[in-house]
Symmetry: C2
Subunit: 276 residues, 2 copies
Amino acid sequence: MSSVQVACCQLAPVIGDLAANRDLVAAAVGAAAARGAAVVVLPELVTSGYAFADRAEARAAAEPADGPALTLWCRLAAEYGLVLVGGFCELDPDGDVRNSAAVVDPGGLRAVYRKTHLWDAERLIFTPGREAPPVVATAAGRIGVVICYDLEFPEWFRLPALAGAQLLCAPVNWPASPRPAGERPAEVVRVQAGAGVNRMFVAACDRVGPERGVDWVGGSVIVDPDGWPLADAGPTGDAVTITAGCRLDEADSKAVGGLSDIHADRRPELYGDVAR
Amino acid sequence: MSSVQVACCQLAPVIGDLAANRDLVAAAVGAAAARGAAVVVLPELVTSGYAFADRAEARAAAEPADGPALTLWCRLAAEYGLVLVGGFCELDPDGDVRNSAAVVDPGGLRAVYRKTHLWDAERLIFTPGREAPPVVATAAGRIGVVICYDLEFPEWFRLPALAGAQLLCAPVNWPASPRPAGERPAEVVRVQAGAGVNRMFVAACDRVGPERGVDWVGGSVIVDPDGWPLADAGPTGDAVTITAGCRLDEADSKAVGGLSDIHADRRPELYGDVAR
């Protein structure tokens, strides 16, 4: 398998302005495609913005998976021949509002994932998911999806890896927090570790643009199966697209030296207490 | 609770020289005690060295938990009034050879843990454990124990945290491997992430001193519950003792911002596939 160009479009969506956010995505995906991207990752809730005042405001910004945003994304994926993974504010078929992510490719909508671990006040806004992260076989490779705070739960990170994902795509909105000078964001450290212990590529796409008093890390990163960053957004907090060539088949081997295999060496029969 | 001084004594044991290794430990623990250490962590297999040619050589260097090494450790713990956690080559009551760690305090031997995830050729030498990491209530705080490669399995890292450990002590022998310039060792990144997602202190004590062609990271590190290193051994590969003051009660709160709690927000009912 040859190298696949993976892109994260670190954007600044405008809360509640669905049309502006569609335009933002269309421009960014076009530019990423021009740079050769075969997989484009977009931030969490890029259709709607994040810092909703309440459930009603989120509901007003929510749309179904066949609404205008994902219809556009499907058109972009077909036009440019790429896979798009991004977060959207979903009105699900039961009328519940979800913090969701979609995988679309030239064939259309391939999967919808609903965020399972809701951060802070999200639990007052969204209905949590209860389905495991999907792993979608695409022309670019096998792609898993989780959203933001999900990454902080190693059990959840593990599931798509065990299901064969080569690349885990994570739309995120990482709220800024203090860190020691010279350190990478804590969220990035956890992505590095999760990539390494699963020998899986990870592309986490953050947002920028302060919103109602919330500032963001702007920490988009693409990490290899050893856990080393291949590309990151740097410390500027700018809207930027990062890209990296990823030999996704490198994630098929879980060998880590000598007789060791980081998946085969697991002892799941002893892990019962983490699932209880 | 006041701050507890935690020390990691990064030593260079001599393979097969049990008496020399006892002397090494006695000197290091005395020096750490003089620096105020209340908890002292020693490397994996510090009684025996690591790179055994075969099972027979390991067996010849193994001793029971009431053998000379741990008898000395119990005396040191009592003399200096501290908790000692270190790795030893164990001849267990069934006659099997184990890669084990002991927790001793002024009251004597408190727990023996047997390494569960055996790295590379260790599986040809040792019998793997099948008991979860112990968590021991000591005068210094609640201390959990795992060994080296165990740290690469987030499920195993999780268990002592869920069982209430405030400080996870990890005797390790990290074999050296290449890494990009300016990067911390991958093993340290994983310790940082595991500490952060569990809000638990971690003290990993590595070894130095090339042994039969194996070189070591020399990456001993003490990490706080946010995942930031409080002390590390630096890049020199020297035998060195690092120390850090740890407010272990900070690990009792799993709050990570707003309504979020990194343990309470887990959804173990959805994690079944990691234990299957």
